[in-house]
């Protein structure tokens, strides 16, 4: 009866519509009003908890998911969400317990195995994480959640070949364009292919200009490729600060032997160059500020 009432509730329908659009703020508002009509509906509580989780309100999300469990909706997905909330709260042990509960209900759910694998990876249990991920991939190699976690594990491992393989598979199965473009951008960014990264991230930005991660990466690319940081990039190419100093000392010795008259000029250049590379972040900030005005 309550389910029927829920289906007929315009607030529920609107909330569900926004929920499917990943607009959790608006979905939350409508779900809260629907909850007033059906206060014990566990599906509604679960979805509201998910909204709070996506909005980074972990305390509220936790209370709602516990309420969902107390009211009798005990499924692997409820425990998985509990695990994700606890992971976000950095309560690693409790998060693992929740994931294990989820797996005890359904040990064959690849999405849950993959999220458990990522939890293990985050907490440093690399071998266990790898075994779990292998198992998730064995059950369903083209599961979107599995490929999502696999991609980030490969990214952290800096395993470029596997990164590309996972990304290719992810692009084939994912239905939302935004995470696809974001992953393409991230993969290219971390192998220093800023051109490709920027192209993908601009496309992602077209889809969602409120996405913080996309903005952060675009800003980082802007910074990395800015002319102000050209000397810093040169230092990096020469093997970092130590390499640059070694080369400088070499040049000083050569100059003092072959062209002592030029030594003074070179020393002045080195001092200016060093000061510039130290102060370039500040110069960049000033340039950005001036440009935005």
């Amino acid at each position: 009866m309550e389910i029927e009432a829920l289906e007929n509730s315009s607030h529920y329908r609107l909330g569900k519509h926004y929920y499917d659009m990943n607009r959790y703020e608006q979905a939350k508002e409508h779900f809260q009003q629907a909850l007033a009509e059906a206060p014990t509906n566990t599906t509604l509580l679960y979805m509201l908890s998910y909204c709070e989780f996506e909005l980074d309100n972990y305390e509220e999300a936790y209370e709602l998911i516990v309420d969902t469990l107390e009211k009798g909706l005990i499924t692997e997905y409820v425990y998985q969400l509990l695990g994700l909330i606890l992971r976000a709260q950095k309560k690693w042990y409790e998060a693992e317990q929740a994931m294990l509960q989820a797996l005890s209900i359904n040990p064959q759910e690849p999405g849950i195995i993959a999220s458990y694998a990522y939890l293990m990876y985050e907490t440093g249990h690399l071998k266990k994480a790898k075994l779990l991920m292998d198992e998730a991939r064995r059950i369903e190699p083209e599961n979107q959640t599995v490929l999502h976690y696999q991609f980030y594990m490969n990214l952290i491992d800096d395993n470029k070949k596997q990164q590309r393989d996972t990304l290719e598979k992810y692009i084939q199965v994912a239905d939302d364009e935004l995470p696809k473009l974001l992953k393409i951008g991230e993969e290219a960014y971390f192998r220093d292919d800023y051109k490709t990264a920027k192209e993908a991230l601009v496309q992602a930005f077209l889809l969602d200009p409120t996405n913080e991660r996309v903005k952060e990466l675009l800003d980082a690319i802007d910074r990395e490729t800015h002319i102000v940081f050209l000397p810093n990039r040169l230092v990096e190419k020469l093997g970092g600060t130590l390499g640059t100093w070694a080369i400088s000392i070499g040049i000083i010795m050569l100059l003092s032997y072959f062209a002592p008259a030029a030594l003074g000029y070179y020393l002045v250049f080195i001092i200016i160059f060093s000061i510039y590379t130290w102060t370039s972040p500040l110069i960049y900030k000033i340039v950005c500020k001036v440009r935005s005005h």
């Binding site: 609107l14 659009m21 601009v202 077209l206 889809l207 200009p209 675009l218």
Partner: protein, 414 residues
């Protein structure tokens, strides 16, 4: 058993048969039971196919012409949306039909306009005296763009016909929330002397498969039957969400239906305009932004100084005031939206009332109260403008947001 009882029984046993409801409505109409007829026709609209819906709308028109009963509108507002012409109809009661036959029908009365949908509380929007651009303070650029794009071709189509320029099509208004997109759309309808028919996502969503699409088609067919009309699609981002981001198959079919219906306006009908409004233009499916759908995107910026002055004077009207310098208030509320200005007025009023209650000495609202309220508030449009600023910076290759770019170039603090 009488014929009407038989049809009634059929309708009760199979409530999803639109044709039965239509027949029942006809029977009731013949008997002069207008309330019952209206309800039966509304059910026919809900369950009937497109042909039956057209017939039902015609019957509803006849029903209204035969007996313009305002009270019926209120009775049926839960199930059907009805509206008289902008000119106020003489309120009548549900009296026997002979009263009507003695009085010739007023020539300025128009038939019922029936729109299906679930928002009973939104009835007021449809029974208002039409607004015009004279009611919109400032925003001259927006008004000029709308004048050129839709009002002039709509009101005086001669020149445009000669140049084979189509009348109709759509515009998409976008801008920060609370800046008067809906108000401008209403004023556009008023300028065109057309019916204003708002559609919100809540009018369309239906829990049953195919229900949302059917609702959408019904709304468009109602608008077609009642031209000239301005169909206003509020929260266009929610109605026409970008399909490349949506994982819901149900919503995809709704968007496809909406695209087909909008195309239909362009191809088959004149004297019907479509205006969309959104705070998130980037979330609107690109298919809507192609020529033939929403031909033009118009940026509705936060109200300019003149508009703010007007808003202040409207919001402060009928309140106990001392001498107020509206120019100063308008100058100090740069980037404030209409809703923000309303908030400023409310905050100042609350402060004055609190002081009166504290001291027991009654006083008027001073200029200082309003200034303090302005200082204690921030314009809510800044977040939106910052987002769009990044958008312009990174993703304006197509030049779709040049208007915003030129607006932002005037503001250093964003």
């Amino acid at each position: 058993m009488e014929k009407i009882d038989l049809i009634k029984q059929m309708a009760e046993s199979n409530p999803e048969n639109g044709a039965t409801w239509y027949l029942l409505g006809l029977e009731y109409a013949q008997l002069g039971k207008n309330n019952e007829a209206l309800q039966a026709f509304t059910e026919a609209l809900r369950f009937g196919d497109q042909t039956l819906q057209q017939q039902t709308i015609l019957e509803l028109g006849k029903l209204a012409a035969a007996k313009p009963v305002v009270q019926e509108v209120a009775v049926s507002q839960k199930i059907a949306k009805t509206q008289y012409a902008e000119t106020k109809a003489e309120p009548a009661t549900d009296e026997p039909a002979e009263d009507d036959s003695t009085e010739p029908m007023a020539s300025n009365l128009m038939p019922f306009q029936v729109i299906r949908g679930g928002q009973g509380g939104r009835e007021d929007e449809r029974i208002q005296v039409p607004l015009t651009f004279n009611d919109v303070g400032g925003l001259h650029d927006v008004k000029n763009a709308i004048q050129m794009k839709i009002i002039k071709p709509f009101v005086s189509p001669g020149l445009f016909e000669r140049f084979k320029k189509k009348v109709g099509g759509g515009i998409l208004l976008y801008g920060p929330p609370g800046c008067g997109k809906t108000f401008i759309a209403k004023a556009t309808a008023g300028e065109c002397r057309a019916r204003f028919m708002p559609i919100h996502i809540a009018d369309i969503l239906d829990p049953y498969i195919g229900g949302s699409e059917q609702n959408l088609r019904s709304l468009f067919s109602s608008a077609r039957a009642n031209k000239p009309s301005v169909l206003f699609l509020d929260e266009m981002d929610a109605l026409g969400y970008n399909r490349s981001r949506s994982s819901s198959d149900t919503m995809r079919t709704v968007i496809d239906t909406l695209l087909t219906e909008i195309e239909g306006i362009e191809a088959n009908t004149d004297k019907m305009l479509i205006i969309g409004a959104t705070n998130m233009p980037w979330d609107v499916d690109p298919a809507f932004k192609r020529p033939g759908r929403f031909d033009k995107m118009i940026f509705v910026s936060p109200p300019d100084e003149e508009a703010r002055k007007t808003i202040f004077s409207i919001k402060l009207a009928d309140r106990p005031l001392e001498q107020i310098d509206y120019d100063v208030l308008a100058k100090e509320t740069d980037l404030y939206s209409g809703a923000d200005i309303e908030n400023v007025v409310e905050t100042a009023t609350e402060e004055v009332i609190a002081e009166i209650m504290r001291t027991g000495v009654e006083r008027l609202i001073h200029m200082n109260d309003l200034k303090q309220a302005i200082q204690s508030t921030q314009p809510s449009t800044i977040d939106w403008l910052r987002t769009v600023k990044n958008y312009v910076k990174y993703a304006n290759q197509g030049g779709l947001y040049n208007e915003v770019e030129s607006f932002l170039s005037r503001y250093k603090r964003i």
